[in-house]
């Protein structure tokens, strides 16, 4: 296998390999060459001030945003290839959103089954069976028939996780999954994420839940000004960062 920089694990264990990702909106360069390499089974935390490009980076990883430059491999598949069937490739990459983005006109079951039926082309029966299993994983099997408007924020986000999970993706990207939640509801969502990790799910999570990062993250990346300023274990980044900017930011989010 090609392994151009010769460092780290062999390419086969890399699930996501985004290199040199750049993204500009008109004159504004939001990402200035970001490398995001995630090993199979790894949980990577992405921290950084508001506007530093965390959401943009995550969206570039499944080309919901078109990177202006860079290479993007997901489980060895080149997502930037002109011949790629991007809709097919996106099945492999789950996404969870800060604002949940559930479909308000469909109940929890309908939210989960839509892609199962239209993308995977499962029959209604099979799709519902799989959706019920997935809803059980997020402890919401008894809310299958509730509409998003009838669910708490924590429950909605767990439906959002189930919607991504049901497609059996290789990796899930989460964009501040708990920032829109009331404090007492954060725990239920973090609990589900922890269970996913225990089941070996590979995840990249933009989040400032430092306690959770300490106990669950394999690696923490600090993004600022469109570049990865520093990375390391949660312990390293939070308590003994090399860069002054990192220490300053960590100081801010501690309070």
């Amino acid at each position: 296998m090609l392994n151009p920089d010769g460092a780290g694990a062999p390419a086969g264990s890399r699930l996501l390999e985004a290199r040199g990702i750049r993204k500009s909106y008109a004159a504004l360069e939001v990402l200035r060459g970001v490398d995001l390499v995630v090993e199979r089974g790894e949980l990577v935390f992405l921290i950084g001030p508001s506007g530093s490009g965390k959401s943009t980076l995550l969206r570039c990883c499944n080309r919901l945003e078109e990177p202006s430059a860079g290479t993007l491999l997901v489980d060895g598949v080149d997502l930037m290839s002109p011949r790629i069937d991007i809709n097919r490739a996106r099945r492999q990459i789950g996404m969870v959103f800060q604002g949940f983005n559930l479909y308000p006109h469909l109940d929890a079951l309908g939210n989960v089954t839509l892609a199962l039926r239209k993308v995977l082309r499962l029959s209604r029966r099979d799709a519902e069976a799989r959706a019920m299993e997935t809803l059980a994983l997020v402890h919401l099997q008894d809310k299958a028939r509730s509409y998003p408007g009838q669910l708490s924020g924590g429950q909605q986000q767990r439906v959002g996780i189930a919607r991504a999970l049901a497609l059996e993706p290789k990796i899930i990207l989460m964009d501040e999954p708990t920032s829109a939640l009331d404090p007492e509801l954060v725990g239920s969502v973090l609990g589900v994420i922890r269970e996913l990790r225990e089941r070996g799910m590979t995840m990249v999570i933009a989040s400032h839940e430092m306690g959770f990062a300490r106990s669950a993250a394999d690696r923490v990346l600090f993004l600022e000004g469109g570049v990865i300023v520093e990375q390391g274990t949660a312990e390293q980044v939070f308590t003994s960062a090399r860069e002054a900017r990192t220490r300053q930011f960590v100081q801010q989010i501690m309070h």
Binding site: R59, N62, L64, N87, R88, R90, R91, I93, G94, M95, F97, G99, N101, L102, Y103, P104, H105, L114, A115, K118, V119, Y147, P148, G149, Q150, G160, R163, A164, L167
Partner: protein, 229 residues
């Protein structure tokens, strides 16, 4: 003759009613037929245009906007007359029924496009992101995620537009298509009595009241996600 008698003689004349009601009833089929065809054509075209516009491509959006603004600003009668009396000058002769169908469909499509578009833009952008992230195509996202939410906003104005355009079938009388009102008008001229208009009005109510009631039902059906749904 008392005032009531005079009123009854003019508007509720059984003699006149007996002579002309069948003619006026014949107009119903024209109103219903043209109405259904126009509504089907206009709403579908409006939806297709709004869908194309949501692609966000300038070369597509521009002609759509020109079409929409043109047909929203011209009076429907002017469009009918221009097509019917103008096009033959350039060698295109269309039957009056076709002219009526094309004109009214274009007007409905123009208004429907704006209504659908307003509905589409009201849907949170995160809905597109979420749907596309699961691998749904643009078309699938539009059909299964965006449109159902846009429809919620679009149904009330669309039913209004539908009813209005169907009543505009009466404009066909200017080019010889006699619907309910056209038939009633001829009967009025021949009988020199207003009873045909009363009959026409009754037919209109019989025709449109169920439509209006049905639209209320439809509006309620689209109020999903609230308690009891």
């Amino acid at each position: 003759m008392s005032a009531w008698d005079r009123f009854a003689f003019t508007f509720l004349n059984l003699e006149v009613a007996r002579t002309y009601w069948l003619d006026i009833a014949a107009g119903i089929s024209v109103t219903v037929f043209v109405g259904i065809v126009v509504v089907a054509t206009g709403l579908s075209l409006g939806l297709v245009l709004a869908g194309l516009r949501s692609l966000g491509l300038r070369v597509v959006t521009w002609p759509i906007l020109v079409f929409v603004d043109l047909f929203r600003s011209l009076p429907p009668l002017a469009i009918i007359l221009v097509i019917y009396f103008g096009l033959p000058n350039v060698g295109i002769v269309l039957p009056s029924l076709v002219v009526l169908w094309l004109s009214l469909s274009a007007v409905l499509a123009a208004f429907a496009e704006e209504v659908f578009w307003a509905g589409i833009t009201s849907v949170a952008p995160g809905q597109w992101l979420a749907a596309r992230s699961t691998g749904l195509t643009f078309g699938q996202t539009f059909a299964h995620v965006i449109l159902p939410q846009a429809a919620k906003l679009a149904v009330p104005p669309l039913t209004n537009r539908t009813i209005t355009i169907t009543k505009n079938v009466a404009l066909g009388s200017a080019i010889g298509v006699s619907d309910i009102l056209g038939q009633a008008n001829s009967a009025l001229a021949m009988s020199t009595n207003a009873t045909p208009l009363t009959i026409g009005a009754i037919f209109y109510v019989i025709l449109f009241l169920p439509l209006v009631v049905a639209s209320r039902r439809l509006e309620r059906r689209f109020a999903w996600g609230v308690a009891g749904s």
